[in-house]
Amino acid sequence: MNFVVPIKQVPDLVEELELNEEGTDLSRDTVKYKINEFDDQALEEALQLKAEIGGAVTVLALDGEETDKMLFTAIAKGADRGIKLMGDFAGGVAMHAAAKAMAGAIAAIPYDLILTGVQAVDDRDGQLGALLAGYLGVPQVSVVTGVRVESGKAVVRKEYSGGVMAEFEVDLPAVLGIQAAREIPRYVAVSRVRQVMKSATLEEVEVHNAAGDEGSSVRRMMKPPKGSRAQMIQGSPEEIADKVIDLLKAKGLKK
């Protein structure tokens, strides 16, 4: 079975996000990147499926900040093939254009099950999975937390609210937007990634950046309105504790 996992880097939210002077984008040179956490879940699920039923896992990503390292890390974790999509993505890329570029590259390789992160922190114009499925003309299910492959079909569990899940049977090829893998995404030591960087190679495929196809553009970015901001409690841990206890007492939650 051929598993394909599109992955991407997103700004690490642990760091302070700074805006550019025009206030239309992040100040990109100050951004620290990490793999989209849901893509990491998708990769883990693909690796688990490979271990379970056999096959090969191909990871692919648009060329950008630290893309090589991200792809090599995926290979170090167990992916068989890494493909870097080359093109003009300097000014960032909208999800519609990313999905189109990926659909073109994926159509040229064998694929049965495409697993990608259910969402990303910056997918303003829509989640990759359903866009990609649309361009490839294959079925998709998003918000998936459980995947089995039985008799050439995927049996997937999609999360609804309140802890309820719906089970679907899906003909392959298909795209799944993965919310969480069955296991915590595996860790791989930096030394192992360095080894892989020396031994493995990434394939490069030229793609077109269909910028503008998303039909919308960013007018302004801003910090959220601070109207209802919390009243901050300060002091030593002991002082803070006493103030919190006062709040509980006022609420009748502590005598």
Partner: protein
């Protein structure tokens, strides 16, 4: 091209879902601002009776078919794309829910329309639509403008009060739309899986101490468990804790977990991603402890503490006990 505003009504187990009324409220605003009609779309099988509850809309368009009985990403998307391609509304509003995430992007590709997701607001400005999305885990708001007409916007839960969407203008006219080919079926609904019972029901607790990524390791959970016991509450959590299998899924608060309204919600080491906020923002008293002064949780908490939970929680537990 019509100037009407369309809203995709979401229903589950024979009932309209709350977010439908939020969409209707926002849709009503958009339609009234230009003196146009608000149309609710209803897909299902034997769901026409729900049309009577969609009185905030001027009309209800119903597509019925056995394949639409339960939500199905393929069949629902096919029906939605066909209606929108035929009627060509100015705006189609979809919930950024589990179902809506399948529908909005499929509609965008299928009908070749712009899509903006995670919207907390959408309005007309100088004759054009402007959508404001909450991105980067709630840390930034992003305003989007559109090229051309006919757009799809997916709205986050809580973007607009549901009350407005419950205000009825009388019984809406319900019209049938001929069922288009629904595809495949390559996606087949099998069954609903209900959450396992037997654990504490966190929706009935007066006090919840809820723990997030800031706890760092399962080994540290007893720290917050002790606090929960001291304040006479139960332990809840954000999604990563459950995905890491440190707590059962029954403890998860948020979009795909449960929605809670306790008297006290004490959030410990939770940054407050929109998916989490959706599940706890209506708690009577929210106190948040987080080391990041810019964590979005402080925009929703009534009281906030910026600091190291490992310093504060043990002291708080001791002082509550004594």
């Amino acid at each position: 091209m019509s100037q009407d505003v369309y809203v995709v009504a979401e229903h589950f187990k024979g009932k309209l879902v709350e977010v439908t009324f939020e969409l209707l409220g926002k849709g009503r605003e958009l339609a009234d601002a230009r003196g146009e009609n608000l149309i609710a779309l209803l897909f299902g099988h034997g769901v026409k009776n729900l049309g009577a509850e969609l009185g905030a809309a001027d009309r209800v368009i119903v597509v019925e078919h056995p394949q639409l009985e339960s939500f199905n990403p393929e069949a629902y998307s096919a029906a939605l794309v066909e209606v929108v391609k035929t009627k060509r509304p100015a705006v189609t509003l979809v919930a950024n829910s589990s179902m809506g995430m399948d529908l909005a992007a499929s509609l965008s590709v299928g009908a070749n329309l712009p899509l903006v997701a995670y919207a907390v607001d959408v309005k007309w400005e100088d004759g054009s639509l402007l959508a404001t999305s909450q991105l980067y885990g709630g840390k930034l708001y992003v305003e989007s403008q559109f090229v051309g007409a006919g757009v799809v916007v997916s709205l986050l839960a809580g973007a607009s009060p549901a009350d407005k969407g419950r205000t009825t203008r009388g019984l809406p006219q319900v019209e049938d739309f001929a069922t288009p080919p629904l595809g495949g079926p390559k996606v087949r609904f099998k069954q609903l899986i209900e959450p396992e019972g037997g654990d504490v029901d966190i929706t009935t607790q007066d006090v919840l101490v809820s723990v997030g990524r800031g706890i760092q390791s399962a080994d540290n959970l007893p720290l917050v468990q002790a606090l929960a016991e001291a304040v006479g509450g139960a332990l809840a959590s954000s999604r990563p804790i459950v995905d890491s299998k440190w707590l059962p899924r029954t403890r998860q608060v948020g979009k795909s977990g449960v929605k809670v309204k306790p008297k006290l919600y004490l959030a410990v080491g939770i940054s407050g991603a929109p998916e989490h906020i959706e599940g706890m923002k209506d708690a009577e008293l929210i106190i948040a402890i987080n080391s990041d002064p810019n964590a979005p949780i402080f925009d929703y908490a009534h009281y906030g503490v910026v600091g190291d939970l490992f310093d504060i929680v043990p002291v708080l537990t001791e002082r509550v006990k004594s």
